[in-house]
């Protein structure tokens, strides 16, 4: 049974980039549960693996940021995300060349604090029609995962644990 909230873990830099360069519209992957490990082993939510579980993503990022781990797998993947997005957005004419360079520069040179994880807490009802269920072949596991491609900032809260 779905609850009243959905959750998404993202790094701080992503929040800033979406705010500054995407008109404060946010592209998020989310889950009906913050921590699938706390669920009954017989519930579908427990089938969400660590790579898609907001709590696990949060813990891993926080550990790497606090440890100033310059070889962090999670941070490397996030860095690659922003650089690739900047290139794609610029090639589609959605941001300027300078904006692209700025994002790439920040992704390479910004402080560790930019990689700290944030939990987006999203009330489900106002975004229900925007929730796109990810096809099972694109998910990390059997548990439900969702994408909201155009989440407005006013529709969610940000917390740090």
């Amino acid at each position: 049974m779905s609850g009243p909230l959905v959750y998404s873990t993202n790094v701080f830099l992503k929040l800033l980039i979406q705010e500054k360069y995407r008109n404060d519209v946010h592209y998020v992957w989310c889950s009906e549960h913050f921590d699938s490990r706390t669920l009954s082993a017989y519930s579908s939510g427990s089938l969400i693996p660590p790579s898609a579980n907001p709590a696990d993503i949060y813990r891993e990022l926080r550990r790497d940021v606090q440890g100033l781990d310059s070889h962090s797998a999670k941070i490397a993947a996030q860095r690659a995300v922003f650089i690739s997005l900047a290139i794609e957005w610029e090639q589609r004419g959605e941001i300027s060349s300078n904006d692209k360079d700025d994002i790439i520069w920040m992704a390479n040179n910004g402080s560790f604090a930019l990689w700290r994880p944030l939990v987006y807490v999203i009330p489900r009802a106002p975004v229900e029609v925007r929730l796109q269920l990810v096809p099972v072949n694109q998910r990390a596991g059997w548990g439900n995962e969702y994408i909201i491609p155009d989440l407005k900032r006013a529709k969610f809260d940000v917390i740090e644990l």
Binding site: Y27, I83, E88, D101, E145
Partner: protein, 254 residues
């Protein structure tokens, strides 16, 4: 240059790397336009195979370590035009000028690198800002260490400036080679600093706290000591006073 991307424009190459990155992510962050999807996958496959070969990765290796190496390769390739040239400096200047939340994080770097010399004015302050954040995040021991890193960099800057002001910059490297770092808590280094600057820093009100903090820092690094918030705050205060004093001295006439 990867063979499979030979004779392609820089724009094309960036597009292939960017779309390949998205494809490799467990949670892609964007949808590719349909027009790009045509024929792209085959090219991505060739590029990926070549990257794996360059990195000496087994084609079947799907471990996190292998993926991270591939991401690091892609990051380097996609960032190269911005990171290596004038465009990077221009981006940095633009970001600094913004004055918004994003600009706050530009000066905060946590690794001491060759770029330190180019950022001597703001780097100690950025490190102190970072130390403050670490205290707020309950990371007390590392905050003490970072605070002292700020002090050493401030001292390095001050000594370097002093050699220039005295017209003996040619002596800087040979003299500094005799020293073990830039910790002014070390009497030999402090005496050199005083001789060059005329600043008897050991008479400053913060000096005793600074010395105590230096001992604390050494115990953390060499003995694995764990400190609490009060001690971290003491170190942060002493380091902030120290950096502020050196900054003040550096602009004073000598």
């Amino acid at each position: 240059m990867l063979t499979s991307l030979k004779n392609r424009s820089r724009e094309d190459i960036e597009r292939v790397f960017a779309s390949l990155t998205q494809r490799l992510l467990p949670q892609p962050q964007d949808e590719l336009p349909e027009v790009e999807a045509e024929g792209l996958k085959e090219l991505q496959d060739s590029v990926l195979a070549e990257i794996r070969a360059n990195l000496n990765l087994d084609p079947a290796d799907q471990t996190q370590t292998a993926k991270t190496k591939i991401f690091e390769f892609l990051i380097k390739e996609m960032s190269e035009p911005v990171v290596s040239g004038d465009r990077g400096e221009q981006a940095r200047a633009r970001l600094k000028q913004r004055g918004d939340l994003l600009s706050v994080f530009i000066e905060e770097k946590v690794t001491v690198s060759d770029t330190v010399r180019a950022e001597v004015i703001t780097y100690p302050q950025a490190l102190l800002t970072f130390a403050r954040k670490l205290i707020d995040d309950d990371q007390f021991s590392i905050a003490v260490v970072i605070s002292h890193m700020a002090c050493e960099i401030a001292a390095e800057r001050s000594l370097s400036e002093s050699f220039v002001k005295k017209g003996i910059q040619y002596l800087e490297d040979p003299v500094i080679n005799f020293l073990n770092g830039y910790n002014l808590g070390n009497d030999k280094i402090r005496e050199l600093y005083t001789a060059l600057t005329g600043d008897e820093i050991q008479k400053q009100p913060f000096w005793q706290k600074f010395k105590e903090s230096g001992t604390r820092r050494n115990h953390i690094i060499h003995r694995g000591r764990v400190v609490g918030k009060a001690e971290a705050e003491d170190s942060f205060k002493a380091a902030s006073d120290f950096v502020a004093h050196l900054k003040k001295e550096s602009v004073a006439p000598r």
